[in-house]
């Protein structure tokens, strides 16, 4: 092999450089998965099991949105004796009263920017408005 002395160290440097994000993240603290704050009311159950909610809450919200707005089906969802009115503000925020600690921690971490909050009111927005009045 010609130029063995240059090619092999060059390849090693190249591989190190291209995998830099992987091993840098593995050793840095920036990659710790955020811990969400559970409902302050101590509720343990939700509309669906936690794992399913974690994976599919956006699908559920979209379904609720279409049910309520497009199909006029506003009948409350009953799970385990508890009624949930279909709605981000009415159902979700009733338990998860701290949007900043519950929603934002994960959404910021994964860089997911939903536009729900452009219109839907969070408890903190409602509280802020009450104080200014």
């Amino acid at each position: 092999m010609y130029n063995k002395g240059t090619i092999i160290p060059g390849l090693i440097i190249f591989v190190l450089l291209i995998t830099f994000p992987l091993w840098f993240n593995a050793f840095s603290k920036a990659s710790t998965v955020p811990k969400v704050e559970l409902p302050p009311g101590g509720q343990k159950e939700c509309v669906a099991p936690a794992a399913e909610m974690r994976a599919n809450h956006m699908v559920l919200l979209n379904e609720w949105r279409d049910d309520v707005l497009r199909d006029g089906n506003r009948v409350a969802v009953k799970v385990g004796g508890v009624e949930y009115r279909k709605g981000l503000q009415t159902a979700c925020m009733a338990c998860h009263t701290n949007k900043e600690k519950f929603c934002d921690t994960c959404h910021v971490y994964t860089s997911v920017k939903p536009f729900c909050w452009d219109c839907h009111l969070t408890p903190s927005v409602l509280a802020a408005k009450k104080e200014t009045n």
């Binding site: 949105r65 707005l69 503000q89 219109c119």
Partner: protein, 275 residues
């Protein structure tokens, strides 16, 4: 070679003829059910294309509102009360600017509300009282026809002309389509202009069109629309199903002479006035 070409043209001609005449043959030999269905469709189309005056047999629920102005003359405070109840229920921002203001229900003089009615030599009452106006939830809504994203649509279950803010792209075609000026555009973020927030209803974002929704969210909870409830003691606004022969609104409509706004446009408004 020439012979083959002639043959090809002959076959092509015969195939084209067969293709053209096939529907005729199908129509002639088709089952009577299919034939009558086609006929029905044709007559339905003819009815739809006909004059705006003739109503086809009403079907399903069609919610409507009747405003008995006789009970509101001389009481502008009642009109304000209804408007305020609506504003509060739907987080409507208060913007003091004709161009940017958001209106779901508001008061306006007779001449503005009923632009196709003559006001020459109108009575003192007509000239000196404001009339309550809102979205008419038309049976033939022009706003729905022009909306490119179907953000505004007719709710089949109730006949409410509803808005889906999630789909609205803010093109404002619906505002051009609406002959009643019942739609408002959010030129700015409305949140700072909302005086009192209702936690049960969302606010809006900049760049969407909004309008009266006949309190669909309150109806679902078994409540009456906010404006109806606000002036309940005066009994001036009656809300109900126009197609239900036993509803109060139907009974009054059958008994009293009512007028609609700009009825000649053929939008078939569901808001009626006794003046």
């Amino acid at each position: 070679m020439d012979k083959q070409r002639r043959k090809f043209l002959k076959i092509a001609g015969a195939t084209a003829l067969a293709g053209i005449s096939a529907p005729v043959v199908v129509n002639l030999t088709g089952s009577p059910a299919v034939a009558s269905a086609a006929k029905n469709q044709a007559s339905a189309q003819a009815a739809a294309a006909g004059g705006h005056g003739d109503d086809t047999a009403p079907k399903g629920v069609k919610l409507g509102l009747l405003i008995d102005m006789r009970k509101l003359y001389g009481h502008p405070e009642l009109l304000d009360k209804a408007t305020q109840a609506c504003n509060k229920a739907h987080n409507i921002p208060k913007i003091d600017n004709k161009k940017s203001e958001i209106k779901w229900i508001w008061k306006t003089p007779f001449a503005n509300a009923f632009t196709d009615q003559s006001t020459s030599n109108a009575s003192y009452t007509t000239r000196n009282n404001d009339f309550l106006v809102l979205c008419n939830h038309c049976a033939e809504p022009p706003c729905v026809r022009v909306c490119p994203t179907k953000a505004t649509f007719v709710d089949k279950k109730t006949g409410i002309v509803a808005m889906d803010f999630h789909r609205c792209i803010g093109c404002r075609f619906c505002m051009m389509g609406c002959p009643y000026g019942a739609r408002s555009f959010n030129w700015m973020d409305p949140l700072p202009f909302i005086e009192e927030l209702n936690p049960d209803f969302p606010a809006r974002m900049r760049g969407v069109v909004e309008k009266c929704n006949f309190c669909g969210e309150r109806l679902a909870l078994g409540k009456e629309p906010a404006c109806v409830e606000a002036v309940k003691e005066a009994g001036a606004i009656i809300f109900g199903d126009l197609n239900d022969p036993n509803s109060e609104i139907r009974r009054i409509l059958d008994k009293e002479h009512t007028i609609q706004r700009q009825a000649a446009y053929g939008t078939k408004p569901s808001v009626f006035y006794i003046v």
